[in-house]
Point group: none
Chain length 93, copies 2
């Protein structure tokens, strides 16, 4: 079961999300994303978790391995993403 337990560096995650590494660090500090710390203090993120966050909730099994991005969903109209119950963690008011 290779769920992709590879660990990613903050820079890798930042590049995936198109944000600054500092922002990724803040997500980890806020507990919004799991992080593994090296004995030296640096953080490592799980590829599977990052992918899950990137996909929102698409539980598709796509094992791509190429730099190219898979073509968009050949499906019909855009599903929109109305649901996205998200639920997650936000709010905190």
């Amino acid at each position: 079961m290779d769920t992709g337990d590879r660990l990613l560096t903050p820079g890798e995650v930042a590049a995936l999300f198109r944000v600054d590494p500092k922002t990724v660090t803040r997500w980890a500090a806020a507990g919004r994303i799991g992080s593994i710390r090296t004995p030296g203090g640096h953080r490592r993120f799980r590829e599977s978790e990052v992918r899950a966050l990137l996909e929102g909730e698409g539980v598709l099994e796509d094992l791509e391995e190429g730099p190219e991005n898979r073509p968009r969903n050949t499906g019909p109209a855009t599903p929109g993403s109305p649901g996205s119950p998200g639920a997650g963690n936000m709010g905190m008011h």
Copy 2:
């Protein structure tokens, strides 16, 4: 499961932490991780200790939003947990 008393090579530990073998060696040199030296001078690390350090924060609790996903494992607690004998790591500064 065995407590993992096997000895791992720097390369193995490096792959687990997604770091360079040199970095693992540096951890051992800094006393951040216990290391066993071979008569030749190479270092070996304990699987149990490495796993203990690998325990990251992660999102242990379910933080999902999918109504159809609930791999809740109410199984009995794991008896006989790894006692991690002797391993008194914890490098504090």
